[in-house]
Symmetry: C2
Subunit: 221 residues, 2 copies
């Protein structure tokens, strides 16, 4: 079913290797559920980590931003980046402090991001980025004009070197701790959307569209 991906020395999960998920399909499910990534890049030896939105098309990740932003100004040179997506699923409360943990799913992609210069690919990347965050919104918005496209830099990172890490389920305590007299279990966590809030300048007769009403990211377990 899923393509097996041979981890490189850099992406091999060093600790707790049983949590490593190298299959592309599993990693893409995580990437498709999330929509905020943390991009790492290096400027004169100093790492920077910046949150931003992303989209995926096949085996490529796309991020975008102002052509003048520090992050994309540097990525533009084709420097090494790390894009990490983390979905937090719960607090894991073990009997021992040491075995406390979190349930999560995360993907780390390493590589070199390059600027998308082709106008068609750039517009398509912006469309899928929008579609990824809120399906249906792109078609109902005022489309980007030439000036706006010029101000927007889109970067592509091929998903070649990557790893996924998943922890799910109840706490795992040391055998002798199971009799320790404390509650143990999981407090589930999920990113949950609230009811849409009208822009104060919106004509109040404007109905909230179905895609915004129905918006939900994940059901709580």
């Amino acid at each position: 079913m899923s393509e097996t991906h041979a981890p490189t020395a850099r992406t091999r999960v060093v600790r707790e290797a049983h949590r490593g998920v190298y299959e592309r399909t599993a990693a893409y499910e995580i990437l498709d559920e999330g929509f905020i990534c943390h991009v790492g890049f290096v400027v004169e030896g100093q790492p920077f980590v910046i949150p931003t939105a992303y989209g995926r098309s096949g085996d490529n990740l796309y991020i975008h931003g102002s052509a003048a932003s520090r992050m994309l100004r540097n990525l533009d040179k084709g420097v090494a980046v790390c894009i990490t997506v983390t979905l937090l699923d719960g607090l894991v409360l073990a009997r021992s402090i040491f075995n406390h943990s979190m349930n999560y799913r995360s993907v780390v992609v390493l590589g070199t991001a390059v600027a998308v210069l082709d106008a068609k690919e750039k517009l398509e990347a912006l469309r899928l980025l929008s579609q990824h965050i809120l399906p249906g919104r792109w078609a109902e918005s005022r489309q980007p004009n030439e000036k706006e496209l010029k101000q927007t830099l889109v970067m592509r990172l091929p998903i070649e070197e990557f790893s996924a890490k998943v922890r799910q389920g109840p706490p795992i305590d040391d055998e002798e701790d199971y009799s320790f007299p404390t509650w143990a279990g999981v407090i589930p966590l999920a990113m949950v959307p609230g009811a849409p809030i009208n822009d104060p300048r919106l004509d109040p007769k404007t109905p909230v569209p179905a895609y915004a009403q129905a918006y939900s990211r994940k059901k709580l377990g």
Copy 2:
């Protein structure tokens, strides 16, 4: 009220400077509300970005992990790191694609993380890290023993060079777009906890403690 922090050339918010919040108090409110950070570090020119929990004590951030993990193995040498905390508050749906945005609060801390070697500070850092995630849990858990403490590396990052960035409120459209016939507004987002789930190996008579029942991170707007 709040100490004014002079941004360095590296942490000055380059774009959209009106979103920059340099006051320590504001940054600490964000750090205290979140509990997952993304740590960036560099190995042979390649940036890595790894999610992990953190705690704050005064003007220091603490992270912890296995003494054998790749991340902390490298931090141990005292290399440069970037710790970023991002709280996502909503999708901002403007009339134009270009003005779509997100409501968020984020803090970026740059510096050099060092291993905490003092036994008392190390234990206290672990306690506040636990306390930060779930107040009340530390005292009800089996405390760390010598062997576990040896296996745990705690790193301290002084909060000296930092910046916060905040975007809140409705979309800001170009004036001529306000008549564009589409819905506009905000879909709030928040990390929401579900009902605690018992460990299957827990004695079902064990009551869920008040601190777990009452656990909540943030109210949706």
